[in-house]
């Protein structure tokens, strides 16, 4: 109890601090210089209709690379930690699935996967992108695993997809250094016609790899967690 009071006091202090951080926040009535540049010059420099995508994939491409890396790291650590050493003798008590779930998943899983792909391919045009698409793909996997708990997911496939897409991302970045103005420069491909699918230079390409990679990584994590479930 005493501890909780202490925690409360500390949190009050923290609240005061946060309040003071944003004490100068007046809201924005117009874009600041940086955002303005993105909004005004972005379409022409990067060619992406989705400005967030422009920022994520190109202007702040290094962040995105880092982000992918973080997921990659998480996936690697999860798979390391949850690696099943003795697969022969293990027993699992699996939850039974319902008919409805089973049937629905058969329909929904392919649709979900397809939707995921759609989302990351259109990342530069509409809301969404590689991460979102990847997450949707992984959620398809979740659905599948919910309906068929005993299903073994091919880790090898996941790894290969992961590695190839990751490597490609890096190679694209390096290609930017060599053939264009810098790491991850998307003008390596022509910007194309603004607002179409084949536009925004490398962005769709990168987003495809990101999407595949994220999808693979999240799937890997989920698969690993699932395999460990209810292990006796």
């Amino acid at each position: 109890m005493v501890k909780n009071i202490l925690i409360f006091i500390v949190l009050i202090g923290f609240a005061v601090l946060l309040a003071n951080v944003f004490v100068g926040f007046k809201g924005n009535s117009e874009l600041n210089t940086l955002a303005n540049h993105y909004a005004v010059s972005g379409p022409e420099e990067v060619g992406s209709a989705n400005l967030v995508t422009a920022v994520v994939v190109t202007y702040r491409g290094l962040d995105t690379l880092g982000e992918v890396t973080i997921l990659f790291l998480s996936a690697a650590i999860v798979s390391f930690l949850l690696k099943i050493e003795t697969s022969a003798s293990r027993k699992r008590k699996l939850r039974t699935t319902s008919e409805i779930l089973d049937t629905a998943s058969k329909i929904l899983v392919p649709v979900t996967l397809l939707f995921g792909i759609y989302v990351f391919i259109n990342g530069h045009l509409s809301p969404g992108g590689g991460f979102q698409g990847g997450a949707i793909i992984a959620s398809g996997l979740v659905l599948m695993l919910l309906s068929q708990p005993a299903k073994e997911v091919s880790h090898k496939l996941i790894t290969i997809v992961e590695s190839i897409s990751g490597l490609s991302f890096v190679l694209i970045g390096v290609a930017g250094v060599i053939f264009a103005a810098g790491f991850l420069d998307n003008t390596l491909l022509s910007l194309g016609k603004f607002g179409t699918i084949f536009s925004a230079g490398l962005i769709p390409v990168i987003y495809i790899f990101v999407g595949l990679k994220v999808g693979a990584e999240l799937s890997g994590i989920i698969a690993n967690l699932q395999e460990n479930q209810n292990e006796v």
């Binding site: 202490l6 003071n20 940086l34 790491f183």
Partner: protein, 1045 residues
């Protein structure tokens, strides 16, 4: 040149491609990873080289083809190159070190490993604050992954705590970043700096959040429980990475964002730093778990670094030199120690006794420990020196004191640990085997420390004249350590002799006197070394190190050289002392008093340097303020070596437990270093007082009390070498008293007593050492009647004690006579009375020494005892000859000393008429007294011989005993508790108040440490609470109500 961006590309590429090899050959994967690490190291090294040699300009790397602030940019400048090189080298060597572990655990961990270093690299290079956040997260997550390398329950729960804590910290960083983005309208660090957020309402707090988050990444005390658990639970290789590489990177980040914060940031950083430094080291005191201890030490060192960064406004352009010196020493040494810990594989520091199975490992460990504590020749030494000088120059006395206190505490536990390693007794020591991949990184870092230390010394302008020749000689001796004793002994003697020969013409005044004591004394004591057989591994480099230090004192012209030499001497003597039997605790207390004393000296030199441009020792003569404090600091510092009362408790054990020929070195020679220091000090600073309180009068009393207590303790000892050790304490009390008189005669007495003490103490320690060697015990009551077995030794001891007791006609009397005259001159009668009282007490132990060992009844088990070896006797008889010359012709000793003192103190000098010395009060003719006493003695002896030439010789046991015969020699030898009645009367004076006092201090501090460390209750929630509370508290400190709600 290969662009820095390729570091990222290569690391990521490697990590991603490692997935292909998952099931394939792990060795191949490792080679692949190692190649990547090598390439990263190569890139950073290449840039560093370019910056060092080719005046390379700092470059910016723009990504995505746009300039900042629109895109993320990286920067590669000199400092980036330095830090990247450190980080990548640590990484490369860590990879090599962890070869078998990584191989065993598979490719995933190799990916994590590479990515960790990529993260750290980008963190250093990036100029975008959000990018910084992302890559810090990469590093954190990768670290969390490596923590669970072992998959043990403890490691996983430590990893969990680590994730929670770092996640909260990065959340806070993120809040700060987004707020900064709002206020500064940019994420580019240079833009943010230009927007001067500190002056914007809210902006300052936002910046504070970023700052505090980065600081929290450095694990400040007390919000660092999570990190400590990690250090304890994780593989030692991970400890290395976290402590050396990650910390370096984050420190660099801190310097990168500090300009955003502006001036006020330094203040906060400084306070956090010093709290961390003190707190962490304090808690380290109670640690027995190796890796956790290293963790505390790491955090402490980072705290010191933070302090230094926080003090930037005062340190000015020296900051970099200081900070880098501390950082590189910390990084290399801590990495080395963590690695060693992985080799030794002992969870408890007591188990490190195993390391001495391999002396070379011990050398490595010693290198790291000494580098951490800041001993020469390591960079940390020069850094600490410069730090103290600058702090003093800016009048930051409190900071100076706190830093020294913290360093001292760190020394306590590090040396305790080292003591366990060298001497700890432990029944079942863990076995360990040394693999090439584990030892090579350690060796590289140890060598690196020496190399960088040398480089650092060349950077210090005033240290350019440091004399490295003796150190090279030491290295040479280490290299030929496999040779037998007699060769090494001869080489050592020749080395000292040759050096003395070369410097002799340049020596004058006190330097000459002390050079002779140190070096001629060294040769004499080394002669006894011929007694030893075999290899005597490790002995000669250490001896030479001590002598190199002593020599350095003589040759020093600047305060830095002096301090350098002082520390070298301390290292050498520490090892010599710890070589003895049961010497662990004594060596520790020796080291602690030495380190403490050294810090006082350092502080004194620092204060003396205020307002001075030169580092010459002569600045002491011309200090700008604080004079009495400087004097006191230095005097107390030197008095730790002369073992004055209160600071003496290390001495008896240390001297008594040392080897037979080491005891004279440390007792007869080493203690004179303190006297030399006092002389150097007093000559330059002259009279000092606090208001009307004369410091010298206090010194005189300290000398007098030291003399009484030392002598009385000596009288009550049962252990012969301890008796001699306490006798040294007492004798140096006389010397201190004499110096404090600040008159011609006082100094004459002090200096001549120093010379004489050197001679008879060498004589006695060698003689007693010879006895102990033969009878295998130091307890005097277990000996007795050895006069007939060891007559030559007996004569040595006899002459030695006559000299000590100051009975005419031998030369000891001269000292007493001069002291008397000096006292009458000065008028300090009460302390003088005490000094003479002490002189009389000396009789008690003198007699006891000779009686209980050589006279009385011979024990049955000693019937076959032989005379001491020739090589032990030879130096004794050389000294005896000199003593006889000085006794008969006192002016051969006193006149030159008098002439040396003359320029400084001319009043009351002795007037010499042949051998007749005339003072203001009396006169003394040593030669004549010798003849008269000799004459009377011969006549009386002739008379007795004439009357009793036929005396019948009987055995000692043949005595009349109340008309009966005694039954056993054991019960007939009156020796145990010889001065029982005296002890009954005055024993209360020597009750161990002083050791009790120090013990109480130590216990108290340990108890406090134990209490405080309970805050680390192992619960992740508590740790998070610490973090939040830490932020809130420092928020209040920083903004102190300037913003209310």
């Amino acid at each position: 040149m290969v662009g820095p961006i390729y570091i990222i590309a290569v690391a990521l590429g490697t990590a991603f491609s490692l997935g292909f090899f998952k099931k394939a050959n792990v060795k191949f994967s490792f080679a692949f990873m190692l190649l990547a690490m090598t390439f990263m190291t190569f890139i950073s090294g290449q840039w560093l080289y370019a910056f060092l040699t080719q005046q390379q300009e700092t470059i910016q790397i723009f990504t995505a083809g746009f300039k900042p602030p629109f895109s993320i940019s990286l920067q590669m400048g000199f400092y980036e190159a330095v830090f990247l090189s450190i980080i990548n080298i640590v990484g490369l060597l860590s990879a090599i070190y962890m070869y078998d572990k990584l191989k065993e655990k598979g490719v995933q961990m190799m990916m994590v490993f590479v990515l960790l270093f990529m993260g750290l690299n980008v963190v250093v290079m990036t100029r975008d604050i959000f990018n910084l956040f992302v890559f810090l997260e990469i590093a954190s997550i990768a670290t969390a992954g490596l923590i669970i390398l072992d998959k043990s329950a403890n490691a996983i729960s430590a990893g969990f705590k680590y994730i929670i804590a770092t996640a909260i910290i990065s959340g806070i960083l993120l809040i700060g970043i987004i707020a900064v983005y709002y206020y500064a309208e940019s994420l580019y660090i240079n833009d943010i700096i230009n927007s001067n957020l500190s002056f914007i309402k809210g902006g300052a707090v936002a910046v504070f959040l970023i700052l505090i988050a980065i600081v929290l990444e450095l694990k400040p005390f007390p919000a660092n429980g999570w990190a400590l658990d990690v250090y304890e639970a994780a593989h030692p290789g991970i400890g290395t990475i976290v402590s050396a590489a990650s910390a370096s990177a984050v420190i660099f980040v801190l310097t990168k964002i500090l300009p955003i914060v502006g001036e006020s940031g330094y203040y906060i950083i400084g306070i956090i730093g010093i709290i961390t430094f003190l707190g962490s080291n304090l808690l380290g005191l109670k640690q027995n778990t190796t890796n956790r201890l290293l963790g505390y030490s790491s955090i402490g060192q980072i705290g010191l670094l933070l302090t230094i960064i926080g003090l930037t406004p005062y340190l000015g352009d020296k900051t970099l030199f200081i900070a880098f010196g501390v950082l590189i020493s910390h990084a290399l040494a801590k990495a080395g120690l963590f690695w060693l810990s992985g080799i030794i594989n002992s969870k408890n520091i007591k188990g490190w006794a195993a390391i001495r199975r391999n002396p070379h490992l011990l050398v490595l460990m010693g290198t790291f420990i000494f580098a951490l504590v800041g001993f020469p020749p390591f960079p940390s030494f020069f850094a600490k020196w410069e730090l103290i000088m600058q702090l003093a120059n800016n009048d930051k006395i409190i900071w100076l004191a706190l830093i020294l206190i913290g360093s001292f505490i760190e020394g306590v536990y590090l040396f305790r640990w080292f003591g366990y390693a060298i001497k700890g007794e432990n029944q079942d020591l863990p076995e360990f085997k040394i693999q090439w991949n584990k030892i090579i990184p350690v060796i590289i870092f140890a060598l690196g420390l020496y190399a960088i230390g040398y480089y650092y010394s060349t950077l210090t302008g005033s240290a350019a004249s440091l004399n490295y020749i003796p150190l090279l000689f030491i290295l040479f001796l280490y290299a030929i350590d496999f040779l037998p004793v007699y060769i090494k002994n001869t080489i050592s003697i020749a080395g000292i002799g040759y050096y003395l020969y070369t410097i002799y013409p340049g020596l004058e005044e006190f330097n000459l006197i002390f050079a002779l004591i140190f070096l001629a004394g060294g040769i004499l004591t080394l002669l006894a070394g011929y007694t030893y057989k075999g290899k005597r591994q490790g002995f000669y480099p250490l001896v030479m190190m001590m002598f190199a230090g002593l020599l350095g004192l003589i040759e020093a012209n600047t305060t830095l050289e002096f301090f350098f030499a002082w520390e070298i001497m301390t290292i050498g003597s520490y090892f010599l002392i710890i070589r003895g039997k049961k010497s662990m605790t004594h060596a520790l207390s020796y080291m602690l008093f030495s380190v403490g004393g050294a810090y006082l000296i350092l502080a004194g030199f620092g204060l003396a340097h205020i307002g001075q441009s030169s580092y010459s020792l002569d600045i002491l003569a011309n200090v700008q303020g604080y004079a009495p404090i400087i004097f006191t600091l230095l005097a107390v510092g030197f008095m730790t070596k002369t073992a004055s009362i209160g600071l003496h408790i290390w001495l008896p054990g240390a001297h008594a437990e040392a080897e037979s020929d080491v005891s004279p070195m440390v007792s007869a020679i080493l203690l004179k270093a303190g006297v030399f220091g006092l002389i150097v000090l007093m000559l330059r600073m002259g009279a000092q007082s606090f208001g009307s309180f004369d410091i010298y009068y206090a010194l005189a009393w300290i000398g007098a009390i030291t003399a009484i207590m030392g002598n009385m303790m000596a009288a009550f000892q049962e252990d012969a070498k301890r008796l001699l050790a306490y006798s040294s304490v007492g004798f140096l009390g006389y010397a201190l008293f004499g110096l404090a008189l600040m008159s011609h005669l006082g100094w004459l007495a002090a200096v001549s007593l120093s010379v004489i003490h050197f001679m008879f103490k060498t004589l006695l320690f060698l003689a007693i050492g010879g006895v102990v060697m033969r009878v295998k015990t130091k307890e005097m009551y277990k000996m007795g009647g050895l006069i007939k077995k060891m007559p030559f030794t007996f004569i040595s001891v006899l002459m030695g004690i006559i000299v000590i007791s100051g009975v005419p006609p031998l030369t000891g009397f001269g000292g007493k006579w001069i002291l008397y005259n000096a006292v009458l001159d000065k008028g300090w009668f009460l302390p003088a009375g005490a000094i003479f009282f002490a002189g009389i007490i000396a009789f008690l132990y003198c007699f006891r020494l000779i009686h209980t060992i050589f006279l009385g009844q011979l024990k049955d088990e000693h019937r076959e005892v032989k005379e001491a070896p020739f090589w032990m006797l030879l130096p004794q008889y050389i000294i005896l000859g000199v003593i006889m010359i000085f006794s008969a012709f006192p002016n051969s000793l006193l006149k030159p000393i008098g002439e040396v003192i003359m320029p400084y103190f001319s009043d009351g000098a002795l007037e010499w008429q042949g051998q007749l010395a005339v003072s203001n009060f009396g006169y003394w003719n040593g030669e004549l007294i010798m003849y008269i006493v000799g004459g009377i003695f011969v006549i009386v002896f002739a008379w007795l011989w004439f009357m009793n030439r036929n005396a019948q010789k009987v055995k000692q046991f043949n005595i009349g005993y109340s008309a009966e015969r005694p039954s056993l020699p054991e019960t007939t030898h009156f020796a145990y508790n010889f001065f029982a009645p005296y002890k009954k009367a005055l024993g209360f004076l020597v009750s161990p108040i002083i050791s009790d006092f120090w013990e109480a201090v130590s216990e108290g501090i340990h108890a406090i440490a134990d209490k405080i460390r309970r805050i680390y209750d192992g619960n992740a929630q508590t740790y998070v609470l610490h973090i939040i509370a830490f932020i809130v508290i420092f928020y209040l400190i920083a903004f102190g109500g300037s913003y209310g709600i």
